[in-house]
Symmetry: D2
Subunit: 92 residues, 4 copies
C-alpha cells in the first residue's frame, strides 16, 4: 500500500526549493565565491532540511502510527519512525 502524503504538493515544493539551494551552493563553489557565503548557505539548507524532516516525522506519527488501520501497520510505521530518529540523531 502506498502511504500517500497529506499535503504532497507543498512537500514537493519545499524539496524543490532545497534542491535549488543546493544548486546555489554548486554555483557559488564553481564561481569561487567567498567561503563564508558557502558556509552560510550550507548552514541555512541544513536548518531548512531539519525543519522539513521533523515535520514529516510528526506527520508520519499522526497519519501512519496513530491512524494506522491495524496493529501490524502501526508497528511497521513506528519502526520506520524509530529508525529515522536514530539516523537523524547520529547525523548531527
Amino acid at each position: 500500500m502506498a502511504h500517500t502524503h497529506h499535503g504532497k504538493d507543498k512537500l514537493l515544493a519545499r524539496i524543490r526549493r532545497l534542491k535549488g539551494q543546493m544548486e546555489a551552493v554548486e554555483r557559488a563553489l564553481e564561481s569561487e565565491q567567498p567561503c563564508g557565503d558557502v558556509l552560510q548557505l550550507l548552514a541555512s539548507i541544513r536548518g531548512a532540511l531539519s525543519g522539513l524532516t521533523v515535520e514529516l516525522m510528526q506527520e508520519h506519527l499522526t497519519e501512519h502510527v496513530v491512524a494506522a488501520e491495524n496493529e501490524a501497520e502501526r508497528q511497521v510505521a513506528a519502526r520506520e519512525l524509530s529508525e529515522a530518529l536514530r539516523t537523524y540523531m547520529r547525523g548531527e
Copy 2:
C-alpha cells in the same frame, strides 16, 4: 579577493551527490513511495550535509582564520565562521 577552496573538486562532487539525493526524495514523493523511505532519505541527507558543513567550517578556520594574510582578513573570516555557527546551531 576570492577565497578559493582547498580541494574544490572533491567538495563539488559531494555537493552534487547531495543534490542527487534530494532528487531521489523528489522522485520518491512523486511516485508515492512509503513515507518511511522518504523519512530515512531525508535523515541521511541531513547527516551528510552536517558532515560537509562541519568539515568546511574546519577548513575555513585553518585556511581563512589561522592562515589569514593580515589582521583585518582574520577578523572578517572569524566573523563569517561565527555567523555560520549560529545559523548551524539554530537550524537543528
Copy 3:
C-alpha cells in the same frame, strides 16, 4: 496514570552520569582549566544527552503510543512526542 519507564534504573544511572559531567564542567571553569577542555566536555555531554533523548523518544513511541491502552491515551502520547520533537529540532 503514571507512565513508568521500562528500564528506569538504567535511565537514572545515565542521568546521574550526565549530572556528574556537568559538575566536571563547573569544576573545570572554577579552576580555570583551558577553554578547549571545557568545549570538548560540553560537546561530549551534548552528544550523550542527544543519544539519551532519542532513545527515550523511541521508548515513548513503543510503550506509550503503539502500546497505548486506548485511543485517547494514544493521541495524548503522540502529541507529547510531537512536541518533544519540535523542541529537540529547534534546540540545536
Copy 4:
C-alpha cells in the same frame, strides 16, 4: 597558561542552571512523572546546552584564535575548536 573565560561568572551560572535542570529530570524519573514531561525537559536541556556550547565556541574563536599572542598558540586554539566542532557534529 590558563585561558580564562571572559564572563566566567555568567558562564558558571548557566552551567549551574543546566545542572539544576538535570536534577529536575532525575526527580521526575524518581517520582514516576509522565514520560512526556521527561522528554520535554531533556529536549529543552539539550537546546540550552547547544546554545551554550556554540557561544563558547564563538568566544574561543575570538579570544583564543583571533586574539592569540603568537602563531603557536593560535594553532593550538584552532585545533581545539576544530576537535570540539567534530564532537559536536557527531553528537547529534
